[in-house]
């Protein structure tokens, strides 16, 4: 298909390299160097989508990051990207793009019926329409999500990968236009490490769209020469297609580099995008400026675009947005676009100029070029819904608030509009720099930097090209010097023109035939469909703070962050309230400057690399044995070992019974281990555990309970005295890191006088726990340690060999049965395990996982920190107050004496026996004493652990119940969803071998 609107004599696209693509399924052709937007315009297409709220037909407004309308879905399937700005997406061969928010297409959109109900969508419509009754919210939300569904997120796994890189530099330059290039140049000459980033594939910024000269030659020659010199500096990193999107504390800058989005064939070995996280000594912001649209009636019709965008399409892409243009402007600078368009053969039908007098350097040149100017005119009406057909001009009344006199209709096929310029202060604002309102240009400009940054060029309100170059050279030199590099004189500035865009007239709402809000819409924020009428309504309803107006109307929100709308909204509010703009205030621009994909945030931290996994040295054996695993902290622990098609329930019943009947083996490697040494070690243990440690002799071990300073149980475990002043502390598997941090904190900050040294030795050992009546017989076959009860009593440890390797064996028990925990060097773990398994065959040794471990310990009423406790449970609540020494202070002791802790109605630890021995309570189930027909009921506690026990021959549970320590024998009920109620009796939590004969055997 012919590109009717392609200019052959200008533009930077490569006419030798045609590119085929599809838009809404139809084939079109563009050229290498095009964006999707420029290629669509070359094919005469303006209508690309529908608006967010009203489903109004929308066209292409801008030519870069500021684009609020032309958001497209790129590709389909797993690689699809929603809401891509057509103005930034580089065209590649075979590219498939579709409209978003329009079904079946932008031309015939079903949602457009919303326009008929526009009265239902005023400012704050979310709040007014969808907030009552609360019950209906899930339904409303569905409707809103569908209506608000701009693009479609991919549903399949992402086939691409993404990178993250960290970098340091002396000077980071954000933006590769004239000011940025100049700044990079002087910084590089000083020897500084420079990072220069620009969102475009080509450097040059506004110069790519300009026809100006620098030192008498085309500006692009200067760009080329500057880049050549920069490439010669080894310390300079040049990043095209890289957008600086976030500016955080202490000059931490986030950049997003696009690596394959512009390629037709995506190489497998290249990341799609790469996120750079840069710590910069000094920053130069050279982010340019964004043109403001004028707020006139129906200013969103396809074919109405920013004057600077029209200029960019003509000069940079060699595309005519149309054949007959009307310029609507409030400033002199826009005539530069008109002149360039005229030069390209576009007829300028008229220039509607809201200024009382049309003057200024570009205006004068336009007059000489024969352009018809209508000064002191407004826009009465716009013709054409899906494409502008004509614009009606009418003189402005003296006060500028309405139109007067005769109107005239001017036929056109596109409109270039300019309402002045906004310096792109987003990054500066993100850096928490203070903004100042410049009344002359009606724009916010940087005032005071808070971080080590400076702005240069248009983004700080320098409007002429020569001024931008001068700014940049000075900023680069200053930044390098501030980073400690030699003073390089900025040198003389290359010669260039230095015209800005003034004079201008700040008419924030251009009046139309009808008052604002009647017949037609004056759009302020295109992306969020916010009109001047919405802003006025918000003010009438009493919203005075700009922050409130913003949230109520949603202007300047979402991905757009007010790039084109911010100052226009402020101007309208200022006018309505009769206050100058600085008194209205400005809003803060938040990161990201443009949207960032989740893939880029995730980087390589996905799939197997999402989180670290810890494996015991016996892990491979467990995998071979077909274990199911569960996560405990970062550890993968065997959960149970199903045989054949065994269910989890069956496996756990079998493992539990086999252990109590003969012998079971558990991988207990994951227990945390902290080596505690030093002359004050025992004093330290005394302070961090609730119980006393001074009587613990070498060779002995003791259970300890550790509290936080708030008196709540934080960890428990067995600590052994290895020799004088040397202890080995065991923590829970998940709590090891927190416990070490907790101990270090007290040691370093409260008790630095204690000579105690802590080392984590968790990874140094592999541990197998043998449990069951045959544990001793089995172990005795492979060890030289005398295991007789007299030589090796309960709660002691012995050193010797097991399976021929050095071992430390603890006689401790978490199962309540005769048990030995065998610790060997981690490297010997698998050997030890395999030896015990093969020698244990004659005892039918059964490997068991964490689930069986839980059943066995619960039968004994042993708590698990994090299951029976949740950060609100004290030792008193657990009935473990005997473990709290009265002879010494310990962390948390004082808190146990607070009145709340002594309340007899606190939730306390109990056992539960369901009336029906086959009924297994759900963990987390709430308990009540008084049943009612329906909730709410007074809840008195909850189930913390619940199992079926083959050893008890019935179900049982552990729970926390208000005043439960004194309620043994009483009934509680667990009302379940669906109306079923499980009746239970409160009991002592020790169900199995209450005398402890088995574990001491």
């Amino acid at each position: 298909m012919a590109q009717t609107y392609r200019l052959q004599d200008r533009g930077r696209v490569d006419l030798e390299r045609p590119i085929d693509f599809t838009f809404n399924g139809k084939r079109y052709r563009g050229y290498a160097g095009d964006t999707v937007a420029s290629a669509l315009l070359a094919n005469g297409i303006h209508l690309v989508g529908r608006s967010f709220k009203y489903h109004r037909p929308r066209g292409i407004l801008g030519a870069g990051a500021e684009e609020p309308n032309a958001l497209l879905q790129v590709e389909s399937g797993p690689r699809t990207l929603p809401n891509v700005r057509a103005t930034q997406a580089e065209l590649y061969d075979g590219m498939a793009v579709t409209s978003v928010n329009a079904w079946p297409g932008p031309d015939t959109d079903v949602g457009a019926v919303n326009q008929l109900f526009a009265k239902l969508f005023p400012a704050g419509f979310y709040y007014k329409t969808f907030m009552w009754p609360g019950k209906a919210w899930p339904y409303y939300e569905k409707v809103i999500r569908h209506a608000a569904g701009l693009g479609k997120a991919p549903t399949d796994p992402d086939p691409d990968f993404y990178d993250k890189r960290y970098a340091h530099c002396d000077v980071l330059v954000a933006g590769g236009g004239p000011a940025g290039l100049a700044a990079a140049l002087t910084a590089a000459r000083s020897g500084a490490r420079v990072v220069l980033a620009d969102e475009n594939p080509e450097f040059g910024g506004s110069l790519l769209s300009a026809r100006e000269t620098i030192d008498g030659k085309p500006a692009i020659d200067w760009v080329q020469a500057t880049l050549d010199e920069l490439r010669g500096h080894p310390e300079v990193r040049i990043l095209p297609r890289t957008i600086v999107f976030g500016y955080y504390d202490h000059n931490w800058i986030d950049l997003l580099e696009s690596r394959t989005d512009h390629l037709s064939r995506k190489p497998d070995d290249r990341p799609r995008q790469r996120m750079w996280k840069v710590r910069a000594q000094e920053v130069v912001l050279a982010t340019g400026a964004i043109e403001r649209p004028l707020v006139f009636v129906d200013n969103d019709r396809p074919g109405i675009m920013l004057a600077s965008a029209a200029r960019s399409y003509v000069n940079r892409y060699g595309v005519k947005p149309g054949n007959r243009c009307v310029l609507v402007t409030n400033n002199d600078g826009a005539y530069q676009a008109a002149l360039d368009m005229q030069d390209a053969g576009i007829e300028i039908a008229a220039a509607i100029d809201v200024r009382a007098e049309a003057t200024g350097p570009f205006t004068e040149r336009a007059k000489q070029a024969g352009i018809r100017i209508l000064p002191n005119h407004g826009v009465a009406a716009v013709d054409g819904a899906k494409r502008v057909r004509a614009i009606k001009a009418q003189p402005l009344a003296a006060d500028g608030e309405r139109l007067t006199g005769a109107s005239r209709k001017i036929a056109c096929d596109f409109v270039a509009s300019s309402g002045g310029w906004n310096p792109t202060v987003h990054l500066f604002s993100q850096s928490r720099g203070k903004l100042r309102f410049d009344a002359e240009t009606a724009a916010f400009v940087p005032d005071r930097s808070v971080q080590r940054a400076r702005s240069a060029g248009c983004c700080q309100g320098t409007w002429g090209l020569m001024g931008c170059l001068k700014d940049g050279l000075a900023a680069g030199a200053e930044a390098a010097k501030a980073a400690g590099f030699p003073d390089t004189k900025a040198g003389s500035t290359p010669k260039a023109s230095d015209d800005g865009f003034l004079p201008a007239r700040w008419l924030w709402t251009v009046p139309g035939e009808q008052p604002v809000g009647h017949k037609g819409k004056h759009f302020v924020d295109y992306q969020n469909d916010v009109t001047a009428a919405d802003l006025l309504l918000a003010i009438r309803e009493g919203y005075t703070s700009i922050e409130h107006v913003k949230r109520y109307t949603t202007t300047g929100m979402a991905t757009d962050q007010g790039k084109t709308s911010n100052v226009n909204a402020l101007g309208i509010v200022s006018q309505a309230r009769g206050l100058p703009i600085p008194e209205i205030g400005t809003t803060t621009f938040r990161p990201p400057y443009t949207p960032v994909t989740f893939g880029a945030w995730g980087g390589r931290d996905v799939g197997d690399l999402f989180d670290a996994e810890r494996h015991s040295p016996m892990h491979a054996w467990h995998v071979r044995a077909g274990a199911a695993f569960e996560n405990v902290g970062l550890w993968k622990r065997p959960w149970y070992y199903p045989i054949g098609n065994e269910s989890m329930h069956d496996a756990v019943q079998r493992e539990s019974k086999a252990t109590r009947d003969s012998v079971g083996i558990l991988d207990a490697t994951t227990l945390g281990r902290i080596d505690v040494q030093g002359p004050d070690a025992v004093e330290f243990l005394n302070r961090v555990y609730t119980n006393g440690w001074k009587t613990l002799k070498p060779g002995m071990a003791r259970y300890g309970l550790m509290l936080g300073e708030d008196g709540m149980v934080m960890d428990d475990g067995v600590t052994a005295c290895l020799r004088e002043n040397h202890y080995l502390m065991h923590t829970t598997s998940g709590g090891a890191g927190d416990v070490l941090a907790h101990l270090e904190e007290y040691l370093q900050t409260e008790w630095p006088e204690l000579r105690v040294y802590l080392t984590t030795v968790t990874e140094q050992y592999a541990t197998a726990a043998l449990a069951g009546p045959n544990a001793r017989k089995l172990l005795q076959e492979v060890t030289d340690i005398d295991l007789s009860p007299e030589a090796f009593p309960f709660m002691t440890f012995r050193e010797g060999t097991v399976a021929g390797v050095p071992a430390r064996v603890f006689r401790i028990s978490f199962s309540g049965d005769l048990s030995f925990e065998i610790n060997v060097h981690a490297d010997h773990g698998l050997h030890m395990w395999q030896t015990l398994m093969s020698v244990g065959e004659k005892y039918d040794i059964t490997p068991y996982g964490t689930e069986t471990m839980h059943v066995l310990r619960a039968e004994k009423g042993f708590i698990i920190v994090g299951q029976e406790t949740d950060g609100t449970v004290t030792p008193i609540d657990l009935g473990m107050d005997k473990l709290c020494s009265s002879k010494k202070d310990f962390i948390g002791k004082r808190s146990l004496a607070r009145p709340d802790m002594l309340d007899p109605q606190r939730k306390q630890f109990v056992g539960l026996l369901p009336d029906d021995p086959e009924e297994v309570l759900e963990e987390g189930a709430q308990l009540v004493e008084v049943l009612k027909d329906a909730p709410p009921m007074d809840m008195v506690g909850h189930v913390s652990s619940s199992y079926m026990s083959p050893n008890l021959g019935r179900s049982f549970a552990l729970a926390l119940v208000e005043g439960g320590l004194h309620k043994h024998g009483q009934k509680v009920f667990a009302p379940m969803p669906g109306g079923k109620t499980i009746a239970c009796t409160i009991t002592n939590p020790v169900f199995f071998d209450p005398e402890g004969e088995r574990l001491r055997a």
Partner: protein, 97 residues
Amino acid sequence: MLLIPCPYCGARTENEFAYGGEAHKVRPEHPEEVSDEAWADYLFLQKNTNGTYYERWVHAHGCRRWFNLVRDTLTNQVHGAYKIEEEPPKVDETTYV
């Protein structure tokens, strides 16, 4: 992302550190002699100054040492770091309203 000057390692990125709240709060030497109210103060209340703040940090993913930092909580400007046993640096203190 703050840049935090660990007194033992030098300047490192914030995500290597963990925050420890207000500095120079001393655990009572004899907690059992402290009133319930004073103990609750010690346990639960922090100054939470809007301005110059003396606070504890630990270089959790580095040297594992605790130290103190003087930071402006509004601007995040860091005025200096010092070891637990050291005196704080002299700083022109600011409190915002």
